[in-house]
Symmetry: D2
Subunit: 338 residues, 4 copies
């Protein structure tokens, strides 16, 4: 059985996912495409060899009887209504992050899904599918470092475009840590603090880079994350988890070791696309396997809501310079896992 | 277009490849199976969900009009006649190593293929598809270490079964280095020497382990490889290439770094299946892409013959304790690239 | 010319320094010893082969005409009056940390030294003499990472005695980072915050371990230091300095690399005495060279006062859970360098 | 008690040792100097502040009643007669390598020492005093890798002067491995082979660089050492010892880890003087301690002879391209160790 997928939003990431689902992964074909840019989407459909039907509006695509499941890769502002429409149609939907542009919007999706009565929504936090994070979680879960007490993280990009400003270090960048650390530590956040000090001269005018985000979990685990998006030297994701008896660290990507010119060195990736490229394949392949049997095992609507609500608290903390409590709605029993 | 594959030899590795081609990779379906154990193969065909037709003899399978290409994973003694049958049928064939159990057998395949006039045969040396070896080759080819002068390698297994004896360290184990180093260094071998010293007490009665193989190439590159198949501590593949201005080393597999009990450590794999598991996927996916357009870009029949001829010289060198010249037939222009 | 040294306080560390100065380093001999335990000191003087004169009170020792310089290694409560007596005698004095048990006491020493008009006091912060910290400073000063923006540190001990409680994580442990980071970054601190979360079950009853100290410098550099004194796995000192274009890290101690039992590993020291043992030699040898020519190039009385004042702010911050300003007296021009 | 040392040969290394003994180490003063360049030695004696008596001939210096022990740092051709003169005078002598310029000369020293009846001679193989090699030996002796089976070594220099030619890769460079590996493995050599392949374009006209030396020990341990003295990238000493259950490697020198420009790197030393600089201090300090109690615990005359004899076999092997037996005189019981 091959799943017939409709894709809403056919920009760069939508096209990547379309090719991935149609040509690279097994068990799916892309049969429907929608984008506000109709012409470009027609052209993509042909040029790629996918030859899917192109819809002028996403509602029709969602309703199409030959579409089994949806992937939303449109711009963030449209996610909420598109995902709600998928829920209303009772069809599984994979929504690229963010689930919604506000915690309130995320909560509305949660409520709609609960009301519908069946898990349909998965959010595109791909780090949970990274081999490195999975190995780290396995190490922690096996008790190799005892109970977790702290985590020291860094999210470093060599540079960002000029339109990357203000709170985007939190909402666009740190949001990946917000999701993956909850999953990694099996825990939720209760307070947030943001510390900003000396600003790099490589920050653009409306960006104060780097910053540090401090989170406290329900168990009292203390997490610090350096967000440094103009670090110049590479795309560098660090995660060091401190437990009662040891420290476990996210693997460095495998690299040729070179001895040359007085240095012994390995490579640091410069392009974020390389770092988690394999994770997208794993993420969507597992999503396909899961929805075939009516499950959502990846990040749920609740996880998407939680990430948004935490990001909002972090933004508030950045502006207030205070320790801000993270207020979360009551979790519906619906999202309990086995 | 989906290629229809027939598989000859359905033991463990044949079954793995069948599942890989049919379910995991894209662009192929397995339509035919053959094995001396007919019953088990019928059972596998059903249980796996592949539901391919099972043939009592491989000739019929090769001739079947709905079979586009073949994969040979039978026992080594049968490879030569099966591959020759594929060539006679004019169908592409992927043959697990060894191509033949003797250099002479490999040469007969080379001659048959040349006579047929078109590349059909690829040999299953999967290391050329390993991300680590590919990164190492890219580093060398980019001139990062200048011209290559030496290579220091190690092929270590934690243990081997009791029936691993005699020259198998060369014919079964070292043969992987024999192929991948020719490809890595763009060079051929001219002499071989084998050095055996102190024998590990973990060697079984008919095995002298470890040994060191010394090869010289046409350019004078000197390669030493430690073959140590009872090393106990892990499955550990090392390759350090020394150039005029630097040294480049095969990446260590990515691993969680752990601080615990007075040690800072990373994992060494214990099971060889884990080390090159991803390479099988890449190898067969690329093979599928290549044969669709009538090409063989992987290890050719000539490469398979060359590995066998070198292994035979190494075996002779082990017994004679002499430096043995490697005698190779003239290479048909047929195998020139680009 | 050999300096004649008098040692005040002949417990474990005083005896170590006595042997070091007398037998291991060049250019000094220990001629006078004082300790409240007169008998044990007599015994040590003979047994060690130093054969120094033992004084019943430290004032006489300081005044002794054949004593050129003093080393104070008594218990912390006595340091202030003993160092003041050395200043009054106009003799160079090396005082083990702490310079005084309060910032106010440290300031009194500063004022006495300024009034005396000549640098006489050096404080025993040995990390400035560690080859690793010196290499790190050289790297930063050479501009290898651009201007410094953040520093991530950790000070981990496998365990502490039962009488290690309360604020000692700051006053006894973190005080080393307080001094060495000011020197490393050429900067002073302006605020402190202490974050405590989940308590390790290996903490004793009156110890909340681990904690994190956050410091802000005058330039806005943000420093976070994990203090974890029951980490079990080793004595582990980390310092990662983040600059505008790179990250430089304190070297790991050199260690045999071992492949064994499925792990590739290096050693983490378990005993703090091993980690900085060489630094004591360098520290005292340089002190000898400096005072021969009338200089103090190591940590000054001002540095000792600054460390105490910062530690007091950290203690306040731990109790108040607030971000606490670090209030420092005006620095006398006397302590300007160069 | 302070030992009074006379130094024969006051070139660069003799002057270094003179300063080291007189100013840096404890328990010795340099009282006598000799060199063929009398004037320069006078100048050095004054300028250094050592103010030793300068002798026009070494015999007088050896005989001087106020000289307790000798250090020979003259050019190699003079070592034999100078060491023999020290033995005749019954005074302890530390001789820089080589002990003699031929195995025969080394054996004459051995015989003279045996005849004299007391250990007097120590040879300046400083690697035995390197912290890294000592840690490696401790690891092996503790059984961490089981019985040793193989060792893979490399001795790499960035470049050599124009007058470094012919067999100097063996006699000047490899001789360090020849001594330290015997000590490390508690074993002697029985055969040698030298393999030369592709020559680096950075070799000078009379130098074939790199080469590989293969040694076999009495226990059958197989040692391969890459000698590569124009490797350009650094002064890089490698030693990987393979045992029945693991591999132990010589520590890399501690280095700041740097993330910058897409690379994670540590430093490789460029200057050999830095690599073993600390070993000289340890070597001579231990020598002083030993000769005070009438012992020689470092490399003996026998060790110096053994290194020379093995080097001669390696030279023969390089020219003959054969596996050459290493012929050693019978070891006098005199050199047995407790």
């Amino acid at each position: 059985m091959s799943l017939r997928i409709g894709i809403i939003g056919c920009g760069a990431i939508g096209q990547d996912h379309a090719r991935r689902l149609h040509f690279k992964l097994s068990g799916a074909s892309v049969v429907a495409l929608n984008d506000i840019n109709l012409e470009a989407t027609q052209a993509f459909s042909l040029a790629s060899g996918i030859n899917a039907k192109v819809y002028a509006n996403y509602e029709d695509l969602i309703q199409a009887p030959d579409v089994d499941a949806l992937l939303v890769a449109s711009w963030g502002d449209a996610h909420e209504e598109q995902v709600l429409a998928c829920i209303n149609a009772g069809k599984p939907v994979f929504c690229e992050k963010p689930l919604a542009t506000s915690a309130a919007g995320g909560l509305r999706i949660v409520e709609a899904e609960v009301k519908h009565g069946k898990n349909l929504v998965q959010v595109g936090f791909m780090r949970r599918y990274d081999a490195g994070y999975r190995a780290l979680k396995k190490t922690i879960d096996a008790g190799a470092i005892g109970d977790v007490l702290m985590a020291h993280c860094a999210h470093r990009n060599p540079s960002v475009p000029e339109n990357y400003v203000g709170d985007m270090g939190i909402t666009d960048t740190h949001v990946h840590e917000l999701d993956v650390l909850r999953w990694l530590l099996n825990d939720d956040y209760v307070t947030a603090q943001v510390v900003q000090g000396r600003k790099s001269r490589n920050s653009n005018g409306n960006l104060h880079d780097p910053m540090m985000v401090l989170l406290e979990t329900t168990q009292g685990i203390r997490i610090d994350t350096e967000i440094f998006v103009t670090c110049r030297f590479g795309y560098d994701i660090q995660c060091h988890v401190v437990g009662e008896t040891g420290v476990a660290s996210l693997p460095e990507p495998a690299s040729v070791a070179l001895r040359s010119g007085g240095r012994q060195s390995t490579e640091i990736l410069m392009d974020w696309k390389q770092r988690f490229i394999d994770s997208y394949d794993v993420e969507l392949q597992e999503w396909l396997e899961d929805i075939k049997v009516g499950l959502v095992n990846g990040p749920t609507a609740w996880d998407g809501y939680f990430a948004s609500a935490t990001a909002e608290a972090c933004v508030e903390a950045r502006h207030s310079k205070q320790i801000v409590p993270i207020r979360i709605a009551n979790r519906p029993a619906f999202y309990d896992r086995g």
